[in-house]
Amino acid sequence: MENGGITAKDLTKVFPGGFVAVDHVSFEVKDGELFGLLGPNGAGKSTLIRMLTTLLRPTEGDALVGGHSVRTEPDKVRLLIGVVSDKLIVYDRLTARENLRFFGELYGLGGKKLENRIDELLEEVNLSRFADKMVGTFSTGMKQRLNLVRALLHNPKVLFLDEPTLGLDPQTVRFIKDLILQLHESGITMILTTHEMDLAEKLSERLAIVDHGKILAIGPPKELEEKNGAEDLESLFLILTGRELRDSLGNMPARGPRG
């Protein structure tokens, strides 16, 4: 079963010190689905994503990504996934092309095929003109566009988008939104985490709202809103996760210094 579906079963992460970041989470994402993952800061979203992308080992439970276990076959999972987050995975002192070439080679690509793929992807995000410029001279928006296609080099079946629009201008947000929809058309499975309710509501076919390491609700956004008597996603989110500000200490180990 090598499609782009995800099946998480009892996925759990307990950090040293006993903090339970993700608590027996089970859910399923269908092949080709655009799935939203929402939750307040420190809810466990990032930890969940890091387990699904093989960056963290689950303490308990397992997840199949594209049919492969993140626990026992992380290398097979890595070949199938692409990862984009607000932390840009591009090197400032390499040119755009050198960046893509380097990451392409990590995936075993090379030669004319890789060069063609790089040209094609740079064209896609309007960066062809800047192919041989140092990435350090790029604006944040340009870097995120490059970062996006970096994750697409090896034609992943599953794309993880962790806050891909954080800190970007409306133009770039719009561009990324269009790109996500276009990728969705092409059949890639996507997991999108974001705090932008508008984006999540418009893009996600289904979404899950996570808090305190557990899934509070899962389903198509409209359905969830109706069920909970919320007028939009934002009010649904606040109904489910409460209105208080999240002030807790040492709650963010997913992005700790070793992150």
Partner: protein
């Protein structure tokens, strides 16, 4: 003023930094205190003796010399059959000089002392000791002693002694700190995740970084060598290939230490602190600035437990004494073990640190 206050508050809240901040000066001062325990305390300088006089006044002198040196405790004599063997003992580091006693004692030149000028402090001390012992035996008359240098040239300064050490230290400092910084940078900007989600092994990530750092280290060493040769007149006699081999092994070993520190420490700053705490005593104790043979006995034992000591020793013998591989077998073997052990420990530690 506000900034100073903020900085101090921040600083006082990092236990790691506080601890090393307090410990560092104490360690350094203690180290210097022990390193320079006052003058005249040098004893038991190892001297290789070639006794060419089997009978006559020469033989009598040889016997008398052996007696006074052991009773005074200033020299430790080892006898060799041929001059070549004795010289090898010096190049190999087991003796600080060679004394040849000819049958025509007490004619001038009948006692020849060959000192190892790559270590000027010991050489001077040895010369003085031997001279005074001979005066003790042969009261008055001719002065039989002639002093020669084992190095193929007359050393011009103490710097000749230090230059090989500096080359070694450059590699070590760069190796330990450079790698820690490279790993920390990738973690901080987030690109480490990009490497981690790629279908490549954890080991290949750190191996790649270690190779890059090792190459950088070798380039730096080459720069230091060039500078001491061009601007300070230091001559290099040894085989460059062997020198590169020693640098490579030392470099790898200390890059490993850098990886271990980064993997074990929670953040970049603590890693740097730990590395600094290691670096300073190492540089002072490993014979870079001050000969190990001049340290008090127990401190010598400490010094010979430091891998850098072997690296500096091997480099000095290669660069200054034109030693062959045979004379540096032991330091080389030690460094090979060190490099293998440190990398062998570093790679799994790194893998564990990044895959929790």
């Amino acid at each position: 003023m506000r900034i100073a206050q903020k900085d101090l508050t921040e600083f006082s809240r990092s236990k790691m930094r506080m601890a090393s901040f307090m410990l560092m000066p104490i360690i350094l001062i203690a180290l210097f205190g022990f390193m320079f325990p006052g003058t005249g305390s040098i004893g038991h300088i190892p001297l290789a003796v070639v006794d060419q006089a089997s009978s006559g006044p020469g033989a009598a002198f040889a016997e008398a010399f052996s007696k006074v040196s052991s009773s005074s405790g200033q020299l430790r004599l080892t006898y060799y059959a041929t001059l070549e063997q004795a010289k090898q003992a010096v190049v190999g580091g087991s003796a600080s000089g060679v004394l040849i006693i000819y049958p025509n004692y007490p004619a001038q030149g009948s006692v020849v002392l060959i000192v190892d000028n790559t270590d000027p402090t010991v050489a001077a001390q040895l010369e003085g000791t031997v001279d005074s012992l001979i005066r003790l035996i042969s009261s008055g008359g001719d002065q039989p002693l002639v002093v020669q240098s084992i190095a193929p040239w007359a050393p011009t300064s103490e710097f000749e002694f230090m230059a090989p050490g500096f080359v070694g230290v450059t590699v070590v400092m760069a190796g330990m700190a450079g790698l820690a910084a490279a790993v920390a940078r990738e973690r901080e900007i987030g690109t480490m995740d990009g490497l981690m989600v790629a279908p490549i092994s954890r080991s290949s990530i750190i191996t790649g970084k270690a190779v890059a750092q090792t190459i950088r280290g070798l380039i730096q060493a080459a720069i230091v060598v060039l500078v001491v040769v061009l601007f300070f007149g230091v001559k290099i006699y040894g085989n460059p290939l062997y020198i590169v081999l020693v640098l490579l092994l030392g470099d790898l070993g200390f890059v490993g230490i850098g990886i271990i520190a980064t993997s074990a420490a929670s953040d970049q700053e603590s890693a740097t602190m730990v590395l600094m705490m290691l670096e300073f005593p190492m540089i002072f104790l490993s014979g870079v600035l001050y000969p190990i043979s001049q340290l008090p006995g127990w401190l010598q034992d400490v010094a010979w437990a430091i891998p850098l000591s072997y690296m500096v020793e091997a480099l000095r013998r290669l660069m200054v004494l034109n030693a062959g591989l045979g004379s540096i077998t032991w330091p080389l073997a030690y460094m090979l073990i060190f490099a293998a052990a440190s990398m062998g420990l570093a790679i799994p530690l790194f893998n564990r640190a990044v895959t929790r």
